[in-house]
Symmetry: C2
Subunit: 449 residues, 2 copies
């Protein structure tokens, strides 16, 4: 048994204490818990032997910072995690209370276990172990742990934008993603970007009676239907002129690797998604559709009368929320302009249609040949005993784009969650073997560098 294996019980107790703090960032009544969780992280970092452990207060929830810079000439890693969690609703679907960690079948169940307290704790314990064993680290590290990842992360973004000198590093490690399958070491090398906004369509200046005016009055709901079905065809191809121009296709090597990933399509479709069929561009393989192709999705729509029974109104206005997921090398500003132009062109007679941007994030893509990625893959391989796979994620992690833009560094996304961890849902869990091996893998990573 190595040092790390001797400390499992202690790590588990520490994690439980962390998980008991209901640090829900979206609910203002949990402000004291946010403070408590931040202070817990700070104290853990100090106890681990890091220097300058401190809370950085700003306009939002505190950031926690700590550093160890005793290896001049060696690389510096920026270690990122977050201590805030999603609300636990619906409460009655939890088998054990969300803030009373419970262990069943080698999993620890609690809100935040996978997203992201468990993974943040992995980073801390990995560094602590090296410092306790050797009194020093093989490389330099800076911790930057945030407390509002679930609500937009504005504080950390502005901090990264304004303090690039303090955060100067060679690469960032993001411990907030998942493994492709149980015990399959995984590194995520790409994220989709996004533009998100609302489409507001207006017809007459007041609701009209469909008996009196039907046949002559513009209908904003029908207009949204026409716009949406013009923007995307039935096979999932986005019909926005120029939109695909910058899309970089995955390499033949990457495609081949994805084709080798262990995957059961029926299980994925019916069990995981609960769907009747997979849709989307039929000529593109699934993982490429999810990871390397942009999408257009409507997230919500609202207009007119939707109560019980019948009301024969032609509404004055309808609204849809929609997003475009972007892939390398698409640019949010350009995509927004293309979308707005396509909406104007698709807008039927008698109505106005306006797309109003809400937020955006650029896509990111790291070359797997990068030495920081290679070392992480090797460390995971050694600890898990299997070849590391490279995947991408269809989601967006805005901080990755911020690290790229303001610090000019790549992010190494080594995650230890699993696809069935129930992130943002009841019965969130973390697989304990992943937790313990994750600590070892991160420590090994620092040594390999």
């Amino acid at each position: 048994m190595n040092y790390y294996q001797q400390h499992h019980a202690e790590y588990l107790e520490g994690l439980k204490t962390f998980l008991r703090i209901p640090s829900i960032s979206t609910l203002s009544e949990h402000k004291p818990d946010i403070k408590k969780a931040a202070e817990f992280v700070r104290a853990e970092l100090e106890k681990a032997g890091l220097q300058q452990a401190q809370l950085i207060e700003g306009q939002g929830n505190p950031l926690v910072y700590a550093e160890w810079l005793g290896a001049p000439g060696k690389p510096t890693l920026l270690l990122y995690g977050h201590y805030d969690v999603q609300p636990p609703d619906p409460l009655d679907e939890w088998k054990s209370p969300p803030f009373e960690p419970a262990i069943r079948n080698d999993n620890i169940y609690a809100r935040g276990s996978a997203d992201d307290k468990g993974q943040t704790y992995i980073l801390i314990k990995a560094v602590e172990g090296l410092l306790k064993q050797h009194g020093r680290l093989p490389i330099n590290v800076k911790f930057l742990i945030e407390g509002e990842e679930e609500v937009g992360g504005e504080h950390i973004e502005s901090y990264v934008a304004t303090k690039p000198a303090r955060l100067k590093s060679d690469a960032a490690v993001i411990c907030d993603t998942e493994m492709f399958a149980p015990e399959l070491p995984t590194i995520c090398v790409g994220l989709r970007g996004i533009i998100y906004g609302e489409l507001v369509v207006e017809g007459a200046n007041h609701d009209l009676h469909s008996g009196v005016y039907g046949g002559a009055a513009p209908n904003p709901i029908q207009a949204i239907a026409e716009i949406l079905s013009t923007l995307k065809d039935r096979e999932g191809h986005i019909r926005i002129p120029g939109f695909y121009d910058r899309v970089v296709a995955p390499s033949a090597k990457e495609r081949a690797a994805w084709a080798r990933l262990p995957f059961d399509e029926k299980e994925y479709t019916e069990k995981e998604m609960g769907a009747k069929a997979l849709v989307g561009e039929p000529e593109i393989p699934l993982f490429e559709r999810l990871w390397a192709r942009p999408t257009l999705e409507v997230h919500g729509i609202r207009g007119g009368f939707t109560g019980e029974g019948a009301k024969t109104v032609i509404p004055a206005r309808a609204l849809a929320k929609l997003s475009l997921r972007l892939v390398a090398d698409q640019r949010p500003d350009e995509a927004t302009a293309q979308l707005q132009k396509a909406i104007a062109a698709a807008c039927p007679k008698g109505v106005t249609a306006e797309y109003r941007p809400i937020h955006s994030a650029p896509p990111s893509l790291v070359n797997p040949d990068n030495r920081y990625i290679q070392a992480a893959a090797e460390a995971m391989k050694q600890v898990f005993g299997k070849e590391t796979v490279y995947i991408r994620s269809g989601g967006s992690i805005p901080i990755v784009a911020a690290f790229d833009e303001f610090l000019g560094i790549p992010s190494v996304m080594m995650g230890f969650g699993l696809p069935d961890d129930n992130l943002h849902a009841p019965n969130e869990k973390l697989h304990l073997p992943n937790f313990f091996r994750g600590i070892e893998a991160v420590a090994r990573y620092l040594e390999l560098l």
Copy 2:
């Protein structure tokens, strides 16, 4: 001054008393007011000299019935109106309180003034005047006044269906429509029918994250957009196979008469509708689109996230309310079946789409050469001093179809409202010259028959 002209002050006071009763049928707390309004109508009918004046209680709000059958061998008219009204919301937009009748510029403002207490009162006072002057009527009449027209009229429909003998008549007079323009005597000879229902589209069995599943997951909102834009093209043509097969085109004479109606398109579009442009089948003239062509309209739509900000959900479900307005000789059941088939054909992969009927009414069309229509037109012409015009209405009055189906009689729709009477809206009004002349016109009608 004739008899009717001598009684204007009395008619106005009586109408005000009627309008002060807030007989809102959709709000259960107004049940006592419904009863009060029904009793008011019954007492007025009795006072007018009619026989058998009574409330007919049933599963809904009471019907008011009265008759005068002292002219054997002469025709019998069934006189229809309703004493219930729409809710007055939004209250703060009323210039005077909705249930405190106020007179401004020759109009009486109150909820129900035009729809339909004022017009119901016209029928009562016309008959009263003849009975007071001559002690008898030139023909037979049966009054049937309902109290749930604004909430579906189920009681009267079942009563008409089950008591055809008691209601046996030669024609019905519906005093619940409007004149095409001020002081232009108007008879409505056609109504559109309707089928109304909801379209429910379901994808996965739970909401999915658009980052993780976007590109593979079915999106029910996009699916509704595709279905709606398949069912109706951008020019307003309905693309449901077989749907237009039974549509009867208006006669050349009717088309020519409609083309002569006084009409200012700019005023109609911008002032009345508050719209930027008229839409619909470009090759069909406006009145034909509104009165003699079927429509497909979406009345409401709901799905996914529509709160403030952003949530990147692919919803499991979306719902739309939609209707088809029907014209002679389309049939509700057939149209429903055609719509359901077209929805099934338009339904994209990965989702299910189901149309659930809520209510329906067949279209109606009366031949203007009918003697009951001709006499009504002549009576209105004599009182208003202008040639009567024949129009149709794009709306649906289900009781007209019920009179046709169960009693086998045509309905004479002579209305005294005006297009700007704000039915169902704040500041509903009735033009008092129409009210007073309406009483005379109905009395003249009975004499002419």
